[in-house]
């Protein structure tokens, strides 16, 4: 029976937990950075609006951090509960970054607590801003270390395999794997980008609803600028990732591109539907593009999926995830670029509702791109949990009742997800920006 298979259920539960956690993790990495920017702008320009942005965002941040912490704890424990064989093996090689991640998390937690509860205890706002730096650094370092672990699973190194026995382990080399640089930077850049576009979306939405105009205009402009910078960074790093895949994980790239025959001058296929016998219908074919993506050379040879034994081929569904991610990334890059040019040239169409709706759409789209990117990266290394060493079937728990546990977590995430939305809505509705502005500017010397 479908639900009785512990391997399948372990995979589903891991996907569920990670996909849920990634929403909060992305905010956890990106938001403190944005709060720093706003807080800093507020001090520099002596502008109450920016200070209030930082303050209001920090309040909302508590809610997402709380859920991020508990879902992060969940995935941390589930690694051992659902994949005990994997953790036994990996613990010998890759425990170091996991351990370091906890320290990064510790700093973030301590300084976040201090920052949130000391707004009014510092006469000097600059000192208070300093508290946020360890929060942002801690968040980025957690992402760094945990992505290092994931990079190791994609490209294991730092040990030797002699007759099936692991020897000569080097914990540092296990962290510095070939996929690590592109993975880590891509994760960080896309997190900053996504959060910036989300804040832009909120500002655009509030502007359409006629809220405090100058406050949200400032927020929109800064967010779009930051979003644009990181969208460019994400695209450039994405290109490096493609070259990494061509070199070290060609089966993933080939599956993502539906590239079956090894050939030179390989075209890139955008979208389309896969028919019988690996025939692509309705796809858009861009000549030479895959060769350029893989090797920066239109004539280069790209390895096809047929070179790999069938049992080691990743599922072909990852093509859709790949396209989703790329398409959204390009769309957001174009959207923010046009916005910035329009601001510079004083074109007013970006202030019309039509364009603002596009910006509002940018938030869910960016999160969808994050999810699609992770699904592509993770499903794309099937059937391996440790590429070339251990398959997921060998790693999963044999315990019964994984299905019951799965249902328990579905329920938990429903409660947490709905709770987050309800609480955040209530929090920002209860005190609108107009009320906040009146409160802090009316006779209160702290912000004068």
């Amino acid at each position: 029976m479908f639900f009785d298979d512990p391997v399948l259920m372990s995979r589903l539960l891991t996907i569920l937990t990670l996909s849920f956690h990634i929403f909060y993790a992305t905010i956890g990495v990106g938001l403190p950075f944005m709060i720093i920017i706003f807080h800093w702008l507020g001090i520099k320009k002596n502008d109450l609006h920016y200070i209030l942005m930082a303050r209001r965002l920090a309040k909302g941040f508590v809610v997402t951090v709380a859920v991020g912490v508990v879902t992060g704890t969940a995935i941390g424990l589930q690694l051992a509960l659902l994949w005990p064989n994997f953790m036994q093996l990996a613990g010998h090689i890759i425990a170091l970054p996991l351990f370091m991640e906890v320290f990064a998390f510790f700093f973030e937690a301590i300084f976040l607590g201090i920052y949130l509860y000391t707004w009014d205890r510092f006469d000097n706002q600059k000192k208070h801003l300093l508290l946020l730096i360890p929060v942002a650094v801690g968040g980025a370092l957690s992402a760094f270390f945990i992505t290092v672990v994931n990079a190791f699973m994609n490209s294991p190194s730092g040990f030797e395999l002699v007759n099936g026995e692991l020897t000569n382990m080097n914990p540092l080399l296990a962290m510095l794997t070939v996929s690590m640089p592109t993975k880590v930077t891509h994760v960080l850049a896309t997190a900053y980008m996504t959060v910036a576009f989300t804040l832009a979306a909120i500002a655009a939405f509030r502007l359409m609803k006629g809220s405090e105009t100058s406050y949200y205009k400032k927020s929109l402009n800064v967010s779009m600028k930051i979003g644009f910078i990181f969208a460019i960074a994400s695209a450039i790093i994405g290109d490096f990732s493609g070259k990494y895949l061509a070199e070290y994980q060609p089966e993933k790239l080939a599956a993502a591109e539906w590239h079956f025959e090894t050939e030179e001058r390989a075209p890139l296929i955008l979208w389309g539907i896969l028919g019988e016998d690996h025939e692509v219908k309705y796809g858009i074919e861009i000549p030479y593009a895959l060769s350029i993506l893989a090797h920066s050379d239109p004539n280069a040879e790209v390895i096809g999926l047929n070179e790999f034994p069938e049992e080691y081929q990743p599922p072909l569904i990852i093509h859709y995830f790949f396209d989703m991610m790329i398409t959204i990334g390009m769309f957001m890059l174009a959207l923010s670029f046009v916005f910035l040019v329009a601001r510079w040239r004083n074109w007013s169409f970006v202030d019309k509702n039509g364009y603002r709706w596009l910006i509002v759409m940018g938030a869910p789209l960016s999160f969808l791109a994050i999810q699609a990117g992770w699904w592509m990266a993770e499903v794309g290394r099937q059937p391996w949990i440790l590429r070339g060493i251990m398959t997921v079937d060998e790693a999963a728990t044999t315990a019964a009742y994984v299905d019951v546990v799965f249902l328990g977590f579905v329920l938990l995430y429903l409660i947490l997800g709905i709770g987050t939305i309800v609480v955040l809505r209530r929090m920002f509705r209860k005190r609108s920006i107009e009320e906040d502005l009146a409160y802090y500017s009316g006779g209160d010397e702290r912000w004068a």
């Binding site: 809610v63 425990a95 170091l96 351990f99 370091m100 300084f111 201090i114 044999t398 546990v405 977590f409």
Partner: protein
């Protein structure tokens, strides 16, 4: 001292810290829910909120630290405990998650939501219970092997008197630790009513604590004679713990030096906790897994210890800053700084 011993000592210390800070947190939730039930919420909730708000996430990290640390230093424990703990650990995670979200949800959204406050209180009872099951399992006798994979015998576990003694002890300990601490904290805030109430709870829970602790040693004699005998060899640690308990109770009874009472209480648990831990040596899971056969390779062990020391150099000052700002800042504690 071998690397294995350093590893397990560090982890045991962190588990101990989690037991203390976690207990304060869990107990506070229980007292909070109880005070709503008995219409005494106005007495307690302010004191509890003021202490817990800035520290709840840090509490959680102590637990994660222990879990990640034990997998790092003893990867085989991931295989043994991971395979058998799916159900009890998942229950703990779900309860921890509901609890962790409470602060954020309660403080901003559902302020005064009674159902949520009760759930919060209930998790304060069920989480220590579900976590303490791991201690029972590590005593051995509940795990057998099928096709080389450890399997947990739930019937034996749930019908064993040892299980229930440990569960009772964990609950009573939570309530006792929390009430002693909150007596001191309430006293510092200058809230006489809350101090009196917490002092009453501290006295109420002190006797069951010692009875339950004694009961476990008695149960162990039937369950795991090896462990019982090594506990007997360390009798002096438990004797010191008992004396510290009596001194704590005396201070609380005389309404004097509540701060000293907290320290005596912490050292009381430290002696008992380490006495228990040392007597369990060298087993992680009796009799299948010792700290020697489950240990990681030397390169990893050394790098973990180096990282631990570096991490501590950054962590201790930060923790000190947190405590200074929220626990020992006279103005904040008295509610003059919000």
């Amino acid at each position: 001292m071998g690397l294995e011993l350093i590893g397990i000592t560090v982890l045991w210390l962190f588990l101990f810290l989690y037991v203390i800070v976690g207990s304060i947190d869990y107990g506070a939730g229980v007292f909070n829910a109880h005070s709503i039930l008995t219409n005494k919420q106005h007495i307690l909730s302010k004191v509890i909120q003021r202490y817990l708000s800035p520290v709840w996430e840090v509490t959680n990290v102590f637990f994660v630290f222990f879990v990640v640390g034990i997998i790092g230093f003893f990867p085989d424990s991931a295989f043994y405990f991971g395979s058998i703990l799916l159900i009890p650990a998942s229950v703990s995670i779900i309860l921890l998650a509901l609890r962790g979200s409470y602060y954020a949800f309660e403080s901003y959204g559902a302020k005064g939501h009674k159902g949520y406050a009760f759930m919060y209180g209930a998790t304060g009872i069920f989480i220590p219970a579900s976590l303490s099951v791991v201690l029972t399992i590590s005593e051995g006798g509940f795990v057998s092997f099928e096709n080389g994979v450890p399997v947990l015998d739930y019937t034996a576990l749930l019908t064993s008197p040892l299980t229930w003694s440990i569960v009772v002890l964990s609950l009573v300990a939570v309530l006792y630790i929390s009430s002693v601490f909150l007596t001191w904290y309430a006293h510092k805030t200058g809230d006489m009513e809350a101090t009196a109430l917490m002092r009453k709870y501290a006295i109420i829970w002190s006797v069951p604590l010692i009875v339950a602790a004694g009961g476990i040693i008695f149960e162990l004699r039937n369950h795991n004679i090896d462990h019982f005998e090594s506990i007997m060899q360390l009798w002096w640690m438990f004797a010191i713990s008992f004396v510290l308990w009596a001194l704590t109770l005396r201070l609380i009874w005389l309404k004097r030096h509540f701060g000293a009472a907290v320290w005596l209480m912490i050292f009381q648990f430290m002696f008992a906790f380490f006495g228990y831990g040392i007597s369990h040596y060298p087993y992680l899971l009796y009799p299948h897994l010792t700290i020697y056969d489950g240990f990681t390779n030397e390169a990893m062990a050394i790098s973990l210890i180096v990282v631990f020391i570096l991490g501590m150099l950054l962590l201790l000052p930060s923790l000190y800053l947190l405590l200074r700002l929220f626990l020992f800042d006279k103005k904040y504690v008295k509610g003059k700084r919000e």
